[in-house]
Amino acid sequence: MHVPDGFLDAPTSTATAVVAIGCVGVALVGARKELDDKTAPMAGLVAAFIFAVQMLNFPVGAGTSGHLMGGALAAVLVGPFTGVLCVSVVLLVQCLLFADGGITALGTNILLMGVATVVVGWLVFKLLQTTMPKRLALVPAQAGIAAFASVPAAALLFVGLYAVGGAADISMDTLLTAMLGVHVLIGIGEGVITFLAIGAVVAVRPDLVYGARRVLARRELEIRSEVTA
């Protein structure tokens, strides 16, 4: 979904850049709470992994492909604030080294893929975790569903931005239908990849999954109470 230069007009691109800078600033402050000596190395790995998986375009229907955005994956693995930082670094490197996403559109792309997918992904994940049984085995599926939801949400935000400052005079209804249609399909891929990746980490080192900490702490408390009883 990397927006190139030219899709959105200058005022809209400037506005998204300002908001994106604000979001990254908030993320830098918030990430301090999430990151310690143990989790900081994970953040570098998560960003590198998302960069690599974003290269793996998978087909969705005739002549179209999609790739992981990674916001929900990052949020569940390292926390939402650190997740924003991870995806933003990926987008910055893609923009500067690979001309993937426009320079003037960097703020737009950070908002779409670095902030919207993280926020929506994290909120859906927390909602599912609050309403479902507190079990570690459910974390990968909850993350997968959250990841699925995050992609059409980003597509929706793009359509909103295009309605405000799109370069071409096109029908917003058809744009909305087209963007949501294809990104629901891409969202399925996002959900599957996120489910598999979180499942792999949960199987090996569940304590390294930020979003699993609460269910892990609960599990340890249960074990202790059994021992003392």
Binding site: P4, L28, F49, L97, F98, G102
Partner: protein, 84 residues
Amino acid sequence: MKTRWFVVAGVLVAILLAGVVSIYASGSPDGLTKVSEDQGFADTEKSRDALLGDYGSVTGVVGVLVVLAVAGGVTYAVRRRGSD
């Protein structure tokens, strides 16, 4: 598995994905690009040359390492230090 080895293994997986598995990635336009073609606003794109060229096995691995260094550096700098 120690955290150090977990991170090393994870980075190796990322390098394998970017360097080898990416060869099999779909070359079709992605969702937004396809929509821009179908809806007739693809020509508003202002493209530019990439510093590293296109995504390939070598440039992909370089990208992984650059992202690892930058993201690792930023998060290492803002982390809580010391006792906890």
